[in-house]
Symmetry: C2
Subunit: 317 residues, 2 copies
Amino acid sequence: MTPAFEPFEKIALIGIGLIGSSIALNVRAHGLARHIAISSRSDGTLRRAEELGLGDSYHGDAAEAVRDADLVILCVPVGACGAVAEAIAPSLRAGAIVSDVGSVKASIVSQMQPHLPDHVHFVPAHPIAGTEQSGPDAGFAELFQNRWCILTPVQPVDEAAIARLRAFWEACGSTVEEMTAEHHDRVLAIVSHLPHLIAYNIVGTAYDMEEVTQSEVVKYSASGFRDFTRLASSDPTMWRDVFLNNRDATLEVLARFSEDLSVLQRAIRDGKGEQLFDTFTKTRAIRREIIEAGQETAKPNFGRNKPPKKWDDESAS
Amino acid sequence: MTPAFEPFEKIALIGIGLIGSSIALNVRAHGLARHIAISSRSDGTLRRAEELGLGDSYHGDAAEAVRDADLVILCVPVGACGAVAEAIAPSLRAGAIVSDVGSVKASIVSQMQPHLPDHVHFVPAHPIAGTEQSGPDAGFAELFQNRWCILTPVQPVDEAAIARLRAFWEACGSTVEEMTAEHHDRVLAIVSHLPHLIAYNIVGTAYDMEEVTQSEVVKYSASGFRDFTRLASSDPTMWRDVFLNNRDATLEVLARFSEDLSVLQRAIRDGKGEQLFDTFTKTRAIRREIIEAGQETAKPNFGRNKPPKKWDDESAS
Ligand SMILES: NC(=O)c1ccc[n+]([C@@H]2O[C@H](COP(=O)([O-])OP(=O)(O)OC[C@H]3O[C@@H](n4cnc5c(N)ncnc54)[C@H](OP(=O)(O)O)[C@@H]3O)[C@@H](O)[C@H]2O)c1
Ligand SMILES: NC(=O)c1ccc[n+]([C@@H]2O[C@H](COP(=O)([O-])OP(=O)(O)OC[C@H]3O[C@@H](n4cnc5c(N)ncnc54)[C@H](OP(=O)(O)O)[C@@H]3O)[C@@H](O)[C@H]2O)c1
């Protein structure tokens, strides 16, 4: 935590699922705001947030939650951000920072910006951290630690608001980067959106096989398949919205993926052992780099085996 | 461990990488054989196995290692099994059980069987357990625990030899199933070979992107991409041999995968939100089943985050 962080008066979290609740836990743990106002669409989620003690006030009406807040963060699916922005706009206090956590950025900007009044500072954000789970129970304070948070500032750029939001995310344990919304969407298309699409697809293919039973897929999944089921168990609403809102970049990386796959397919068909070997060799280095960057565990099988003694000394996540 | 396991006199392990060394550690830990003879192609690997104390005798010559052995297990890449079988055949003792651990089975049978004398019992096997690492240092005794081992008996079926090998793998902590080599190869094509191919491919695609730098891929990999890098860091020789030797089944599941992917691609292009939502929903159940079957950890992110307190009570791998 940045020691000198000057707390916000009031933070309003609109949406209190995995990301919203993880932010709330950070705000509480590090004293990042004096008051946490929470809003969620459904009564059930709002009540659950209250039971978990995530906030100081709870509001069915998002517009009520943002009143007097000097920091407002939308933590709802990408496709819902426009409607939420419209609903809260009249109640936003002058000088408030309005942000979000959406996994797509250009679409968020075009959805939200038209509704926001000139007297607020809009700074879109995306914490590159998450799990396959959702809802207020899924959150935990450590989620953002050693992860990146990308800000995609919009015109007119407000340096003070950006600095303030940057300090907020740093206080949550993240390192902050800035880039354009368009570049963000291309980067995330390859590092996140395509991987999820492929994972959903391969699990679907296995699901529909006739010659191999579901129970065989489950039994023998430790030979590779299970790795894909984690991403493929992520929230369908969130991911529907990601693909609908980052269509072009996703389709572009998907086209490249398919081209590359055709090349591999042909190499297998033609028995080109050397070509396969070369392809499988060049992909190894990148994992080592990811481990060295602190973004992955070095333990074999992601550390899922009952660990033998000799792994104790090895570097962990 | 099966308490009544009658140890083998002498086990010969031809190949002492991840799988061979993990077998050796089990044989030692559970007293499954009175003597462990180890052979490896290279001096370096053989010496390393000796330093690790994996066996009782070490042989550059595989034929020498198998002399007097009543259990011989080939733990070399699939493509090398024919040549090894040919080399050891004249030295095999009458009544010996000859087995392997290859990830493909029909090809192993057609490579090995022609060389083996009638006086041995050939029982092909495949432990469905592994990691992305290789070599004698990668082995650990717990590898096979709560995993499946598939036997693919060949004609003439020798029930006594099968029962003996089954008991051996059970003593290593595995549950044993029998099926035909052809069915094995179809099952593994979808649960293991296609997942590895897809993982190698997506990592390769990311590697070759021009608009997104390597360092961006590394930094933001926690958003999904990193999950694929584990499989894609597996041994290139092993995987080249798998695809060369399970070509037809792999190409068949790959064709289905590509068809399914085209459907998803079109849904994204046409903005078919409901269809995307439905696809992303049906894939969730299978993960729950895999976790319930004890083949996967229930912890979010495979347990790679610094665990918050509340995860302590939750079920682990
Ligand atoms: N999950 C990740 O790994 C991850 C990582 C980084 C960024 N993100 C982004 O973070 C955002 C939230 O994701 P999450 O994982 O926290 O989701 P979540 O756990 O499913 O929570 C979603 C929240 O949004 C509300 N909501 C859902 N649909 C809504 C709608 N149509 N209108 C208004 N509110 C709605 C939900 O309210 P009710 O429960 O009351 O219906 C809930 O409070 C998304 O934009 C996502 O792209 C996610
Ligand atoms: N890794 C897995 O996850 C996994 C899981 C289940 C089954 N399998 C199967 O288990 C077998 C071994 O895999 P592994 O992971 O243990 O491999 P590994 O760690 O790479 O060890 C391979 C062993 O085979 C030897 N070898 C390599 N090429 C050879 C050749 N052309 N002729 C003779 N010996 C050769 C190596 O000898 P030198 O080091 O002396 O050259 C080494 O002893 C493969 O058939 C694989 O399909 C692997």
